[in-house]
Symmetry: C2
Subunit: 385 residues, 2 copies
C-alpha cells in the first residue's frame, strides 16, 4: 500500500512467502502502486438501475417521499434484484471492489424476494466478490406488521446481518424497534447494522439506546451504525457518544455526505472508533449519483472532511480498505502474507495521489486471479447479466 | 443540450442555419448527447502541479499556513506559470472545458511573472481555449505594499479583471481594500472578481461593503464574488443579501465545497442571482484533489446542494455551462445559431445522467474544430508542454 516495489508470491489465492516455484505463472505488475481490494461497507445491491433506462427523478424532498417512491418504482420499473445486484457487483469489481456489505430490502410487499435475488448473485460471483447481506426493513418494521418475521426468514435463508432503520423517526418507537432487532441478532447470533439518519439530539438519543443494548448484551465488535449524521453535531455533545462507541467497538459507516452533518472521520479514528466508507449505492431512485467506485468514495470522504494533507488522504483510503474490512468483520484481509490476494494496481506515485484523483484501475485481482484490466472485466468474465 | 437528435451546421467556427453546402466536411456525432463547451469560472492556472512529481502535503490547517506554503513552494518546486497553465488548460480542454477564468497571483516576490506566464499560454492556445485573467493579490494587497501597483501593471499587460481577497481577514482593512480595487476597476474600466472566504457575519459585512460600492459606481453585471461562504449562513440573514445581489446583478461562484457553509445554488438561482461553478484548480499545494473536470464539478455542486431531481441536476450543469458563461461575461456562448461552436458529446441518455456520473467525453469541439476524442486531445494537438 504505497511501500517499495517488490515481487509478490501468491499461492492458493493468498499472499505467500518464500521463493516462487519454477513453474509459477507471472503477472507483470509494471512497478505500479498496489492497494488492497476495495471494501464497500454499505450499499443497496438490490435496487440500482445500472443498465436500465435513465430514471427521471421527480421525487419530493422528504425521506418518506423517497421510501414510498422506492417501493412504488421497484415494482413499476421491474427492478430485478438478482440481475441488478450482479450488474453492480460486476461493475464495481472492475473498479477494484472485492468485498461488499449490502443492505437488502425486506418488506411485506416483496417479502424475501430481494434477499433471494442477492443470494443468487452471491453464489454466482463466489470467489470473485465476497458479499455480506443485511436483512433491511427499508419501509419500516413495527409500522408494517409481518416485517420482523420476514427478516427472521431472511436470516434462515442466508442473510448475515440484522438491519434496522431510524427507530424513532420511521418506526415511531425507538425502544421497541431496537429491542426487536437486538433480540433477533441475539437469537440468531448475528451482527447488527443499523441505518441511523436521525439528526442532532434525536439521533444522539437513539444512539444512546443502541449503546445501552450493545453493552447489556455484550455485543462488542458486533454492531455498526450507518450514516450516524447525529455525530456531526457540536463537539461537546458528540464527544461522550464517541468515547462509548470506541469502548464498545461499535463501528460507524459514512458516505462522506456533502452538505450534511456527518461523523468527523479523523476525530472518530483518533478516538479509536472504527470508521468505514460506503457508497450507499449508485444510480437509483434515491440518488442518481456515481458508479459505486470506492476509490472515488475515498475522495469524497476526504473532501467532506477537509483533508488536504497526505496522511489524511491515506486515512480516507483506509475507510474504504482496511477499516472497511475491520468494520464488517472480514478476515484475512490486507496485503500481508496469509491474506486473500485481493488487490488493485494503479499508475500513481503515492496513495494520496490515488485518492486525490482516482486513476484507471490498471489491474484488479481477486483471490489471486486477475479479474479486470484498465477498468473493465477480463474477457472470460465479461458479458454478465 | 439534451434536445432531440439533429444535424448541425457549423460555418466559420459558429453554429449556423440552413442546408449544408455540398463540400461541407462531416463529423459523425453518433447520435450522442451534445452539451455546450464547459466553462471553468474560477481556477488558478498558474500554480497547479500537473505533470510534476507528487507533492507531499504537510501544511497546517489555517488559511495563512496555506498562503505561506503556496508562496514558499512556488519558488522551491519551480512551478513555472507558463508551463503549468498550459498543462492545465490542455488537460481540461480534453475534458470539454473551452473557456476559463483564471485568477493569477501577483505579489511583491514574483511581481507580474505569473501574469506573463498565463498571457503566454492564452496566446499559445488562442482559438482553442478562451482564457480570462484576473490579477489576484493572493498574499494580500495592502499588507504588502507595492502589490496594488503590480496589479495595475498586470492590467496594462493584458489582465482582464481586477481581483481581491478577504478584505477584512487577510488585508485587515475591508474599506481600504475594497476602495482600492474598485478604484482600479473604475480607472481601467475592468470588471471585478473578489475571493470572499470570510465566514458568517464577517463575510456578510464585507459583502455589504461590496454591494454598496457596486451600487455607488453603477457596476451592475461587472462584479463576481467567489466562494461567498457567508451566504451559507442561516436563511434570514442571507436573504437580504441575496436580494441585493440579484438587483445589482452581482454574480456568485461556488465550487460546491463539501463540509463547508456555501451559497445554496437553487435558492440563489430562483432569486435571480447568476451562480456559476469553478474547480478552484486541480492538484496544487492548496488542495490535492481533482483534474479540473467541470462536468465532475457539476456533480460536486449537485451533491453539495442535495440535488436528486433531474431538473436540479440540470441546474448544476448550467452552473458549469450557460450560467458560468453569463457570470464571466462570455458572448456568443451556447448551442444557438450564431454562437461559437464549442461543444461536448457524451454517450448518455439525458443531461442529468451526464451530471450523475460524468462519462467519457467522446468528442470535444472548440470554435468548430474537433480538438479531443475519448478524453484525449487529437493527435495534432497532443504533445504540449
Amino acid at each position: 500500500m504505497g511501500g517499495p516495489a517488490a515481487d509478490i508470491l501468491i499461492r492458493d489465492g493468498r499472499f505467500a512467502e518464500g521463493p516462487a516455484p519454477a513453474n509459477a505463472a507471472l503477472v507483470d505488475g509494471g512497478g505500479l502502486l498496489m492497494l488492497p481490494g476495495l471494501v464497500e461497507a454499505h450499499t443497496h445491491l438490490d435496487k440500482n438501475l445500472i443498465g436500465m433506462p435513465w430514471y427521471r427523478n421527480e421525487i419530493g424532498p422528504r425521506r418518506i417521499d423517497r421510501i414510498e417512491a422506492d417501493r412504488r418504482e421497484k415494482k413499476r420499473l421491474g427492478i430485478d434484484p438478482r440481475r441488478q445486484s450482479e450488474r453492480q457487483a460486476r461493475q464495481t469489481l472492475a473498479l477494484g471492489v472485492t468485498a461488499i456489505r449490502s443492505h437488502v430490502d425486506v418488506d411485506t410487499e416483496i417479502g424475501v424476494a430481494n434477499i433471494e435475488g442477492v443470494l443468487g448473485t452471491r453464489e454466482a460471483l463466489a470467489g470473485l466478490v465476497d458479499i455480506q447481506i443485511v436483512a433491511f426493513p427499508q419501509s419500516g418494521m413495527l409500522i408494517r406488521p409481518g416485517t420482523l418475521e420476514l427478516m427472521e426468514e431472511s436470516l434462515r435463508l442466508g442473510a448475515d446481518v440484522v438491519g434496522g432503520i431510524d427507530p424513532a423517526s420511521i418506526d415511531r418507537d425507538p425502544v421497541a424497534h431496537l429491542d426487536a432487532i437486538f433480540g433477533l441478532a441475539e437469537k440468531h447470533a448475528k451482527p447488527l447494522d443499523i441505518h441511523l439518519h436521525e439528526p442532532g439530539e434525536l439521533g444522539a438519543f437513539t444512539l444512546e439506546l443502541i449503546i445501552e443494548r450493545t453493552r447489556a448484551l455484550g455485543l462488542q465488535s458486533r454492531v455498526l451504525v450507518s450514516h450516524a449524521y447525529c455525530l456531526g453535531m457540536e463537539a461537546t455533545a458528540a464527544d461522550a457518544l464517541i468515547a462509548q462507541l470506541a469502548e464498545l467497538r461499535i463501528a460507524v459507516m459514512t458516505a462522506g455526505p456533502p452538505g450534511r452533518p456527518a461523523p468527523a472521520v479523523k476525530k472518530l479514528h483518533e478516538a479509536g472508533v472504527v470508521i468505514c466508507g460506503g457508497s450507499d449505492g449508485p444510480r437509483g431512485t434515491w440518488e442518481p449519483y456515481g458508479t459505486g467506485d470506492m476509490l472515488m468514495r475515498a475522495t469524497m470522504i476526504g473532501q467532506r472532511n477537509g483533508f488536504g494533507r497526505d496522511e489524511d488522504l491515506e486515512l480516507a483510503l483506509e475507510t474504504c480498505t482496511t477499516l472497511g474490512a475491520k468494520a464488517i468483520g472480514l478476515d484475512a484481509y490486507g496485503l500481508s502474507v496469509g491474506c486473500r490476494a485481493d488487490c488493485v494496481l494503479v499508475d500513481v506515485e503515492t496513495v494520496a495521489e490515488a485518492v486525490a484523483a482516482p486513476p484507471v484501475r490498471k489491474l484488479v485481482m481477486s483471490h489471486g486471479r486477475v479479474v479486470a484490466r484498465d477498468g473493465a472485466l477480463v474477457d472470460e468474465l465479461s458479458g454478465g447479466v
